[in-house]
């Protein structure tokens, strides 16, 4: 036990593996135990479905068409992905804005204070207002994600742009670069991989806002489905959906990291 807290400990491969999966095993075991006892008391229990029930739920969502003939998992994923994609596309615009703020003092004066204020507004709290202004369609849901994350990304880009040593900018100016070129050929390429990382770290917040928007007013989508099947107490659909979303987020996160590693080899780890 003493060696558990040693800074120069060198766990064997076996030990690392065992410890890494330990919590997963404990969680799954606890769940299976709970599910077993609930089923002993009530064989039709819906609150903690067994593994085979969840597999069946997954089958019903992904492979068998439902009452309207849709394959729910896929149309939900497509709808949510469309909203997510549009929101990310708009959020990418925060990067050039942040760069502009970091380089041009007039631009900074115009945007900085406003963005700092906007950043502190808890996005979910303005959702009812968004519904009133933009209606209950796609626009309000995308607006929610954008309002929640855009200021954060813009301010981060601003900070990074400002931290580029001024000597570089002077060097570029000496060599005849225009203001435009300084921004887009000197500063932006340097900070872009770090910005990808920032966006990657905000994926969780974006997903959260997407689900919130969908749960409140939608006809299709991952968040919508989870909140509607709550009425059925259909944990055998909800839990697979949650795992599916986690998996998708994992994939997106990993993909961005891969892009950074491949295209921007020069970025320090």
């Amino acid at each position: 036990m003493k060696s558990f807290f040693r800074t120069d400990a060198q766990p064997s491969l076996a030990a690392t593996w065992v410890l890494s999966i330990l919590f997963f095993v404990v969680l799954i075991a606890a769940y299976l135990l709970g599910s077993y006892y609930r089923h002993l008391e009530n064989p039709q229990d819906k609150v903690m479905p067994t593994f085979s029930e969840m597999l069946d739920g997954l089958k019903r969502s992904a492979i068998e068409p439902d009452r309207n003939g849709d394959l729910r998992l896929w149309i939900d994923t497509l709808a949510s992905a469309q909203r997510f994609g549009l929101a990310i596309a708009v959020i990418f615009l925060a990067i050039p804005l942040g760069v502009g703020m970091g380089l041009f003092p007039y631009v900074e004066a115009l945007f900085y204070r406003f963005l700092v204020f906007f950043d502190k507004i808890p996005a979910l709290s303005v959702l009812p207002i968004l519904f009133i202004i933009f209606g209950l369609d796609e626009l309000s849901k995308i607006a929610l994600i954008v309002i929640g994350v855009f200021p954060t990304v813009a301010l981060d880009a601003h900070l990074r742009a400002k931290s580029i040593p001024r000597e570089q900018l002077h060097k570029a100016q000496t060599l005849g670069a225009s203001e435009h070129e300084i921004a887009y050929r000197i500063v932006l390429p340097q900070i872009f991989p770090k910005m990808l990382d920032t966006i990657r770290l905000n994926l969780k917040a974006m997903m959260l806002l997407l689900i919130a928007g969908e749960s409140l007013a939608a006809t299709v989508g991952l968040g919508y489905r989870i909140f509607v099947v709550r009425r059925y107490v259909a944990m055998d659909i909800i839990i697979p959906y949650v795992l599916w979303m986690t998996g998708l987020l994992f994939l997106t996160d990993w993909f961005i990291q891969w892009v950074i590693r491949r295209r921007y080899v020069w970025v320090d780890k």
Binding site: L136, T219, F227, R230, V233
Partner: protein, 357 residues
Amino acid sequence: MPRCRWLVATMLITVVVSALPQMVLAKDRFSLAISIYAGWMPWYYAKDQGILKKWAERQKISIDVVEMDYIPSVEAFVAGKVDAAVMTNMEALAMPAKAGLDTTVLIVGDYSNGNDALLVRGIPEVKGLKGTEVYLVELSVSHYLLARALEMHGVKESELKVVNTSDSDIAPAFIANKSQKAVVTWNPMVMHIEQTPGVSKIFDSSKIPGEILDLLVVNTKLLNDEARFAEALVGAWYEVMSLMSQRGPEADKAMTAMAQRANASLNEYKGQLRTTAMFWTPTAASDYARSAEIKEKMDFVRNFCFTHGLLGEDARSVDVVGISYPDGTIQGDGRNVKLRFDTRFVDKAKAGQPRQD
């Protein structure tokens, strides 16, 4: 590290000691979940004025009243976290009963007699809903109301589009967005929306009386083990009922308190009560639960639940969940009775009720 061990030991002991009372009193402590709705405000009154406490003490038990949002309260009942809850007949069938939790309807409190409504902009009648987007809480009583309205006017649900909208946003969004043409919801949202110019009501629950019932349900197993809980609940409820149903300053005072809890004025609350057909006396409630009418109405409800997948996506027929009535009739599978209308306790309360004129 002796200090560390002491700290851990103290924490463990504190946790165990604070859990002890719960473990010891487990059998005498019961819980009831309530949520805001015109017909359920009497429970808030019974809680605040100590009426429920008084009845519980007479039975030598204690009852915790938990205030929640509607669906979470039903979910808590399904998960066994509370022993009794208020809900409509549709939820009672589609959530606990269908999930295998044997549920008894202890009290039939009232039925919605206009509290649920379909409101539109520029559509003269139900047939005109074809091709529109209707905003409502999907698979709730609003959805049921729409389905019955469509049934009564020969329109199919596939001819329009249902947009799931949470109850907290449905009213402000409809009021602000003139492009929304149809909405189905309940009071007090209906009242607020009706006040908007250009909005009219083309269908409501008074056209389907007795179908949307508001109930107090209890876990059947608990009821069979422990009748005291039921006696206390029934006693407290009818005390408040008799107080409210007599006209006069006492009743008004009680209703003002209830209106305040529901965030409404006394007149607004009385307005909501007008569209709620309360069963003021144990006789009224018991008679309805024993009638042939209730079986007809429950049949509509269970068919809605079945066709919308609320009885289980792979349910083979509407009979999959059995419903039993006080006279012994069973609707559905007799081997899987999970929803029971039981008038034993309400009948006992009849004997003690004061004479009503």
